[in-house]
C-alpha cells in the first residue's frame, strides 16, 4: 500500500480537510497582500509561512501577524 492508496481509501476524510486548509491559506494570502503593515515580520515571511507551514502559518498570521488598528 502506498501513499496514494491511503488518500483514495479515505477520501471522505481528506476532502474536507484539504478544502479547509486551502481555504484558510487563501484567506490569509488575500489578507497579507491587501495590507502593507504587520504587527511583526514582513510580507515575504508571512507568505512563506502560510504556504509551507500548513495550517499553522495562516493561523499564526491571523493571531499575531495581522495589524490591528
Amino acid at each position: 500500500m502506498n501513499n496514494a492508496d491511503i488518500i483514495t481509501n479515505n477520501l471522505p476524510l481528506f476532502i474536507p480537510l484539504i478544502l479547509l486548509e486551502v481555504g484558510l491559506d487563501v484567506a490569509a494570502l488575500i489578507h497579507i497582500f491587501r495590507h502593507k503593515n504587520y504587527r511583526m515580520g514582513n510580507r515575504i515571511l508571512w507568505v512563506l509561512l502560510t504556504l509551507f507551514l500548513n495550517p499553522l502559518g495562516a493561523i499564526l498570521y491571523f493571531i499575531i501577524g495581522r495589524e490591528t488598528y
Binding site: 491511503i6 479515505n10 471522505p12 481528506f14 481555504g23 484567506a27 493561523i59 495581522r66 490591528t68
Partner: protein
C-alpha cells in the same frame, strides 16, 4: 443589563471582524476530522514505517481510538488554542484605550467582563460541539461498534471545565498588560493543575479530572458520580475567579 447586551453584540461583531471566530472554528473542525482519520491511518502508517520485511500484528482500530484522539486534541492543544486566541481580550482593550470612551459614557465595568466571558465561552462551546458532531459522524460511519456507549458523557465535563478555564483566561488577561502575560498566567494554572494530579488523593477533587477522565467515562468504566466533587469545585472556582476579574477591572486604571 441593557449595556451588557450592548457589549455582547460589540464583542460578537469584533470576534467576527478580527477573524477569531473563523480561526477557532477552523482549528476545531480540523481536530474533529483528525480524530477518526488518525485512528484509521495509524495501522497503515505503522505498516509502512516498519517496511515489508516483517509484519506486526495490529488490532483493528475501533471507535475507542477515534474518541481517544479527539479528547486528546480537545484537552491539550484545544485548551492552548483557546488561551492563545483569547488571552488578549481584556488587556488589548485596556492597552489600546478603547474602553475609556465607553466607561466614561456610562458603561458599567462589570458589563465588560460579563460580556467577554459569555462571548468567549459561547464561541468555544460552538467550536467544541461542532467538532464533536463531526467526529461523531465519522466515527459512527467508520467504526460502527458499541465499545463507546456513553459518548455524550465525555463531553459534559469538558464543557464544565471550559466554564472555569475561560474565567481563568479572562482573569489572566485582566491581570496582565499584554497578550503574553495573560497567556502565561493561564498556561501556568493549567500546568499547575496537571502537576497537582500527581498526588493520588487529590484526583477526585482536582478540576483537571474533568479533562483527563473523559475516555473512561465514554467507555463506561467510570461513573460520572466519581468525579462529582471535581465538578462542583470547578463550578465554584469558576464563579470565584469570575468575580475576582470583575473586582480587578473595577480597580484597574484604564
Amino acid at each position: 443589563m441593557k449595556s451588557t447586551w450592548f457589549f455582547i453584540r460589540k464583542e460578537l461583531l469584533e470576534s467576527w471582524r478580527n477573524y477569531h471566530l473563523l480561526i477557532i472554528m477552523i482549528v476545531f473542525v480540523i481536530f474533529g476530522i483528525e480524530g477518526p482519520l488518525m485512528a484509521k491511518l495509524t495501522p497503515d502508517i505503522l505498516k509502512m514505517a516498519s517496511g515489508s520485511g516483517f509484519s506486526i500484528k495490529m488490532p483493528d482500530p475501533t471507535s475507542i481510538d477515534s474518541w481517544q484522539q479527539y479528547y486528546k486534541n480537545m484537552t491539550q492543544i484545544g485548551i492552548y488554542v483557546l488561551v492563545v486566541i483569547f488571552s488578549g481580550t481584556v488587556s488589548g482593550e485596556v492597552s489600546q484605550g478603547t474602553l475609556v470612551n465607553l466607561v466614561t459614557k456610562g458603561l458599567p465595568r462589570y458589563s465588560v467582563i460579563v460580556a467577554k466571558y459569555i462571548v468567549t465561552y459561547l464561541q468555544w462551546c460552538l467550536a467544541i460541539i461542532t467538532s464533536f458532531l463531526i467526529s461523531w459522524g465519522y466515527t459512527a460511519y467508520y467504526f460502527p461498534d458499541n465499545k463507546t456507549p456513553n459518548i455524550w458523557l465525555g463531553l459534559w465535563p469538558l464543557l464544565i471545565f471550559g466554564l472555569m478555564f475561560v474565567a481563568i483566561t479572562i482573569l489572566g488577561s485582566t491581570l496582565s498588560t499584554n497578550n503574553y502575560g495573560g497567556f502565561l498566567i493561564s498556561v501556568i494554572v493549567f500546568i499547575g493543575l496537571t502537576l497537582l494530579n500527581l498526588f493520588k488523593d487529590s484526583k477526585r477533587y482536582n478540576p483537571i479530572a474533568l479533562v483527563t477522565d473523559n475516555m473512561s467515562l465514554v467507555k463506561g468504566t467510570e461513573k460520572i458520580s466519581h468525579i462529582m466533587p471535581a465538578i462542583w469545585i470547578t463550578i465554584f472556582s469558576a464563579l470565584v475567579i469570575f468575580y475576582l476579574s470583575i473586582l480587578l477591572l473595577r480597580r484597574k486604571k484604564l
